[in-house]
């Protein structure tokens, strides 16, 4: 099967006007990022890497060129759609942590879900679950000011995962941290990539982190100078808690019997076994329930990917360490299907998104 990039930048440029001068922050860059990859954009300050990331995140439009996410041009998205994209398709982690200071940890993590109109109880469950993934169960009632920088950044990572996005974008996530906290955050990001099979895009000027990446894009003065494949990515002790992202969902789902789609999930869970056929069946059930809300071609495509990928679940499951070759072999949608519950969870989220969208339109 031909690989389709998760993110494709073509001829991407950004020019700023500073007084009378025009400054080009990014000169016609082209690249493709594939599902499950850990990508580093590396370069000195002012090389345009943050500008690039903000365009990938839809925070600003490019001056020219396109960003395609799963084949979809970001520039054609309306204001609402781009907000939805930022909320559910990507997870952002910033250098400044960027937590809302007046909210406690749980509320901060759950905030993107609140924008979707998800009930408080459900939000709290999901946030609580993610807190255990980042290892801060006991801090849920604390406000950000009571946490260390490293803890705040882990909360920020948890927040980025709330809507179960495919892509994590981290802009200098360790820039404000001491080395020990920085290591913890890096370990978390690497685990997300290797254990949970998410696409992670890391912006950094710290050469120490390049060893974790599958590919490194070296940048300077608005150009991508080189793209280096890591033949052998560095071994790192992965966080076991990250695997909860897949498996712990099953427990979570049991409490969620209030929403129709959840009932489907719960029922499936009871009858689930490890064989692939069951997984396919499950995906189809989820699909059915989703189609009720109104199908969309984009999501149908994702659905197919999921079904195909489920058959390969066993192969990629529990791959603690992924070589470059392995990473390249990972099929589209793999991160989402690596755990069955995760798949249905995403379908559920999509259905929920559509619901909330309909509400918004109404």
């Amino acid at each position: 099967m031909a690989k389709t990039p998760v993110i494709k930048a073509s001829n991407l440029s950004k020019t700023f006007k500073l007084g009378k001068n025009e400054i080009t922050a990014l000169h016609s860059v082209d690249f493709e990022i594939f599902s499950g990859e850990f990508i580093c954009f590396f370069g000195p300050s002012g090389c345009g890497k943050s500008t690039l990331l903000s365009m990938l995140a839809g925070l600003q439009p490019p001056s020219s060129g396109k960003v395609l996410v799963r084949g979809k041009d970001l520039s054609v998205l309306g204001k609402k759609e781009i907000s939805k994209y930022r909320r559910s398709k990507i997870g952002m982690v910033f250098q400044q942590f960027n937590l809302i200071l007046s909210m406690n940890v749980l509320e901060n993590i759950a905030l993107p879900m609140a924008f979707d109109g998800v009930s408080r109880k459900r939000r709290a469950q999901r946030a609580q679950h993610l807190l255990s993934v980042v290892g801060l169960d006991d801090k849920k009632k604390d406000v950000p000011a009571d946490l260390s920088g490293g803890q705040q950044q882990r909360v920020a990572v948890a927040r980025s995962l709330i809507n179960n996005p495919w892509i994590i974008m981290a802009d200098e996530p360790t820039g404000n941290l001491d080395s020990q906290s920085a290591d913890e955050v890096m370990k978390l990001l690497v685990s997300l990539s290797r254990k949970s099979k998410r696409t992670v895009i890391l912006i950094t000027h710290n050469p120490d982190y390049l060893k974790f990446a599958d590919r490194v894009f070296k940048m300077k003065d608005g150009h991508i100078l080189t793209v280096e494949k890591n033949k052998k990515v560095a071994k790192v002790e992965l966080l076991d808690s990250v695997s909860k992202l897949g498996t712990a969902k099953d427990e979570e789902a049991e409490d969620d019997i209030d929403i129709e789609t959840d009932k489907v999930v719960e029922k499936d869970e009871e009858s689930s076994s490890d064989d692939g056929t069951d997984n396919v069946e499950k995906t189809e059930i989820a699909k059915e329930s989703r189609n009720d809300k109104g199908p969309s071609s984009d999501e149908d495509a994702l659905e197919k990917e999921n079904v195909e990928a489920v058959e390969e679940t066993e192969e990629v499951k529990d791959t603690g360490e992924v070589s470059q070759e392995d990473a390249n072999d990972i099929e589209e949608g793999n991160p989402d299907t690596i755990e069955n519950a995760e798949t249905t969870e995403i379908n559920k989220e999509i259905a929920k998104d559509e619901e909330s969208d309909n509400e918004e339109q109404a």
Binding site: L59, S83, R86, F94, L101, F115
Partner: protein
Amino acid sequence: MKMIDIIRIAIGNLSRNRLRTLLTISGVVVGVGAIVFLVSLGFGLQKLALEKIVNLEALKVITVSPGSKLDVFLNSQTAQEFQNIENVEAVSPVKRSVANINIGDAKTEQVMYGVKPEFLALENIKITRGTALSGKNENEAVVSKEVVTNLGLKQDILNKSITVRTIGADSKNIENMTIKVVGISDEKGVYVPYDTIKDGEDNLSSVKVKVSDKQYVPNVKKSIESLGFNTSVIKDQSASVNQIFYIIKIVLGGFGMIAFFVAAIGIFNTMTISLLERTHEIGVMKAIGGYDKNIAMIFITESSLIGLFGGIFGLTAGWLGGVALTSIINLLATQSGGEAVSLFNIPLYFSLGTVFFSCFISTVAGIWPARRAAKLNPLEALRYE
């Protein structure tokens, strides 16, 4: 985003800078309090004036007098006919006679009315001392203070007997009687029971017709007039009184509005500063997927909450101010022998209207900051420190 979450976030933001929020709310409290205090004073005075000037019972009474037609007589039989008109509640015939009143050497000439006992209530004649006519005894009278003055008496004539000499309409039927004064009233004239005036012919000077409600007065009046009688009613002055107080209330409310307008500027100011302080946070919310609408709603909700709390507390403050002032005035009034009055009156619709108004204006004051917040560029907002 659910409204409850928006409210929760808004309250969180408001309680973050408590002093500023309290001061802003205080501004609204002063504005709303001033409006409530002044306008409810207007309402109170209006009510008082309506009670004093226009007696509502008196407005239901039609006075019927003989018409110009020679063949139509106003007598006890026609009075009975009035009773049969729809919506007529009571009919009270009035005989009129001129009387010379003597007590000892003092004498005065007065108009004497022969009335049914219920007439005094119908005409709203207040008995200041003594009792009203009982209707059981023919020889009793209610006389006005004026009679006492005219008699030039220094001693009290209540419960004393006076000699009355009546002269009929045709100067015949002169009759002398001794009558006991049972009550003193404010109104002019001497009131005696209907049968006390023995007039040879059955001629009534007037008939008081009371209808069951003010709204039936025009119809009943028309029916009586169609029978050939003249009618008169007390002019309903409540409309003009209401109009005057309408203007007074607007003027008083206008003073309060000035204070409220200043408060609205305060809200605007607070929200604008809040916008600047929270620019970075707005950037974060947008970056993690908040809709522009969500951001705007949070701001709008904050300003309307300020208006809501300000409105509720302002209403309470205005009401308490009214209660306090009324107590002080009544204390002074009763000490100097006056009557306790209720100076303030806050109708429910006005209370609710004020809170709603406060909320509305505050919301309007928050629209501009909210729109600016919603329109912030997420990337620039994120960079803002």
